[in-house]
């Protein structure tokens, strides 16, 4: 049991140990952006509705505005800055799956978690997962197209002897 108004903590972010001073009321989104300088996770609604703030926690997609930073102690936090050249990032570029790009880090982190969990996701699964994120300017079709292209690649790779 602990009671802390303000604490020095070490967070595991993108495979790095990051020392940070935080308050128990600080959301993970706030700490990532304002204290660790990781501005990839975006503040949108701050209400759990838009998904712009999505990161991965121990491989699960998580809205970082709905999580306190203290809850992420001893967990593996991955933000968009921690993904480098993943197939889904490449697919977003190839499929023109963004316009202004504000929602993109959140979409990519959600898709990344999905492709690791259900690599051969069917259309219903893709729709269910993507419903967690809102895009205000591009069409969802391009985003779905990007995800499907990776699913297809995964299926082909599995078929190869």
């Amino acid at each position: 049991m602990t009671a802390e108004r303000s604490l020095s903590a070490v967070l595991n972010v993108n495979d790095e140990e990051r020392a940070v001073h935080l308050k128990p009321t600080d959301t993970l989104l706030f700490v990532l952006r304002e204290k660790l300088g990781l501005s990839g996770a975006k503040p949108g609604c701050l209400n759990g509705d838009c998904g712009a703030c999505t990161v991965n926690i121990d491989g699960l997609a998580m809205k970082s505005c709905l999580m306190l930073a203290v809850e992420s102690l001893n967990k593996k936090i991955t933000t968009i800055e921690g993904l480098k050249g993943t197939p889904i990032q490449q697919a977003f570029v190839e499929h023109f799956a963004f316009q202004c790009g504000y929602c993109t880090p959140g979409f990519i982190m959600n898709c990344h978690a999905m492709l690791n969990t259900v690599p051969d996701a069917n259309d219903d699964t893709i729709a269910e997962w993507l419903n967690s994120n809102i895009c205000r300017c591009t069409g969802y079709q391009e985003i779905e197209g990007a995800v499907r292209s990776i699913v297809k690649k995964n299926q082909m790779n599995r078929k190869r002897p």
Partner: protein, 278 residues
């Protein structure tokens, strides 16, 4: 950002959590049990929740149990809706849980938080109401087990400082025919216009609702009318006489529209369940 500060505690046992609650209450810290924490964070930001101490229950082993134990399916209050959905040991609960919020939010929202929360839809309670499940709650006098129908009246009537630990559902209810239909004003995520959950039990059909009134409910009077002899339409009309009044009338939908959707959805559910001769 929250406009107030709180201390964060993470007890490892039920006793520790309950004692902590009362000690913090005596210090006027307005303690709150913290499960998924999504409501505390989001309503706290709007100054609709206030606390100076949160007690995170996710390290308490009893709150994380999911599975069968001595004739019951036990659901720990601290489990996320995704964990419940994926386990699928209680298919009606999985179905009801899978309709709440969206996939990512369900990785954080817990079943206990949904049932004890202020946001009045509390859709995850419907399966427990229908199956006469038991509530396991812990307070200063120890742990008590009560039938949910005697403890849930619009909200879960826990005593001050009591912790919802688990819900216990008799195994015989896990495989009865069921339906759970959520109708939203639009899109595939979000709050319901109307959610109806129903099971076909030995004595007849049972129904529970969310989104019709500013609280979820199961009505024995409605069930009695629905299980009479006669045409489905007439039975539905008779059952609606027992709906709690007034029917919600808000931005999600007018009361007239809600009633229209309710009648049609109930019709489909009854027809399907009555034809289900499992």
């Amino acid at each position: 950002m929250l406009s107030f500060d709180f201390d964060y505690y993470q007890p490892k046992s039920i006793e520790e959590a309950v004692q902590l609650y009362h000690a913090l209450d005596r210090e006027e810290k307005h303690p709150l049990y913290y499960s998924g924490g999504t409501e505390i964070i989001t309503l706290g930001r709007l100054d609709l929740v206030y606390t100076n101490a949160v007690i995170d229950i996710k390290a308490i082993p009893e709150c994380e149990v999911l599975g069968t134990q001595e004739g019951y399916f036990v659901t720990g209050s601290g489990l996320t809706l995704t964990a419940i959905e994926e386990n699928n040991g209680f298919p009606l609960l999985s179905k009801a849980a899978s309709g709440v919020a969206d996939h990512t939010a369900r990785n954080k929202i817990t079943v206990g938080g949904n049932i004890c929360g202020q946001i009045f839809y509390r859709e995850a309670v419907l399966p427990f109401l229908l199956t006469d499940s038991k509530i396991v709650a812990a307070g200063m006098n120890g742990v008590r087990t009560e039938h949910i129908m005697s403890l849930f009246n619009k909200t879960l009537r826990l005593k001050k400082g009591e912790l919802l630990v688990q819900l216990q559902t008799e195994k015989r209810y896990l495989n009865v025919p069921y339906r759970c239909v959520k109708k939203r004003p639009q899109w595939d995520t979000g709050y319901p216009l109307v959610t109806i959950a129903a099971i076909k039990a030995e004595e007849g059909i049972r129904v529970a609702f969310s989104g019709v009134s500013p609280f979820p409910f199961r009505s024995r009077e409605m069930e009695k009318a629905l299980n009479e002899n006669g045409r489905i339409k007439e039975r539905i009309l008779a059952s609606l006489q027992h709906l709690p009044k007034p029917v919600l009338d808000d931005v999600e939908g007018s009361s007239e529209y809600r009633l229209f959707v309710l009648k049609n959805t109930l019709f489909d559910i009854l027809r399907e369940l009555e034809e289900d001769h499992r």
